[in-house]
Amino acid sequence: MQSKSMKQCKICEEWKEEGIYLLISFICTSCEKEMLETEPGDEHYQYYVERLKRSYISNLLTH
């Protein structure tokens, strides 16, 4: 059972307490940190791009 303060991270899909919101998408602190350290061209970069896309931020923004 998840506690009420736990939110599911849109990147790693784990339930975490701390993080930031990108509109309605919650991103946990550890994913945010990893994202900050990743540069375009890095192996993991495209993964973050895809996860952000999937978290339907872009759908909200482009219509």
Binding site: G19, L22, P40, V49, K53, L61, T62, H63
Partner: protein, 239 residues
């Protein structure tokens, strides 16, 4: 039709937000025009102070209220062949980086700094992407035959058979030639060196060599043939 679908989606999103509750953290988004507007100078300062104290809600607010910038900048790169949704995702990463690295003590507005970060992030992505476009996998199928067998790039790629031994052979040949040349007398050696540039000089024509040595070209020609025959013999003895 697109507009109707959009309104339906917006409606469901607003329901999701209501169910999730927590109005402090989540904002209702009604479309690109209704993205959170830029914060006032005072609000922005307050949020930046709260970010300094480690308040994640303030950080979220700063990010969300600058998302219009992301959309605006991403749209400038729409003609690059990268889908707008990717561009917005990349721009969002740039914005998150901007909010995390912004130094309010420097005399620059957050929006200015964030714009640079967003644009840089997209430009860097485009550069890396263009570089990758020119790369091709060894497993790239070039063709498929009637039986469905793929002809891969690795099937047709190869190296010249002697690519490894070529340099080695050349150096052995050079040494053999040196030994063979040492069996010649002074003038014969000089003729070969002048004609074939053996001692690092430029190759010269029979006519040039003949003029320099004060003998006829036909004599040089005869001597050359004789010397080459001798060198061949010496070579054959050595190998």
């Amino acid at each position: 039709m697109k507009r109707v679908w959009y309104h339906i989606k917006s409606f469901f999103l607003s329901i999701i937000i209501k169910i999730k509750g927590d109005p402090d953290e989540i904002y209702y988004i009604g479309g690109s025009e209704a993205l959170p507007p830029p914060l006032s100078k005072e609000e922005e300062k307050e949020m930046l102070d709260r970010v300094k104290e480690g308040d994640p809600k303030a950080k979220s607010k700063l990010i969300e209220h600058n998302l219009r910038l992301v959309v605006y900048i991403a749209k400038k790169f729409e003609n690059t062949g990268i889908h707008i949704e990717d561009l917005i995702s990349i721009g969002s990463i740039g914005l998150i980086k901007a909010v995390n690295t912004f130094n309010p003590e420097k005399n620059i507005k957050l929006a200015t700094y964030a714009s640079r970060c967003i644009e840089n992030e997209i430009l860097m992505y485009l550069r890396r992407n263009n570089k990758r476009k020119t790369e091709i996998s060894f497993d790239e199928p070039l063709n498929v035959d009637w039986d469905g067998n793929e002809l891969l790039l690795s099937d047709v790629l190869g190296t010249d058979e002697n690519i490894i031994t070529k340099d080695l052979d050349l150096s052995v040949d050079k040494n053999l030639l040196k030994s063979a040349l040492s069996t010649l007398n002074g003038r014969e050696k000089q003729i070969m060196e002048m004609r074939f540039g053996l001692s690092g000089n430029k190759e010269q024509t029979q006519k040039d060599v003949a003029e320099q040595l004060g003998i006829s070209q036909s004599y040089i020609s005869r001597l050359e043939k004789k010397i080459i025959r001798r060198l061949k013999r010496e070579f054959n003895k050595m190998v």
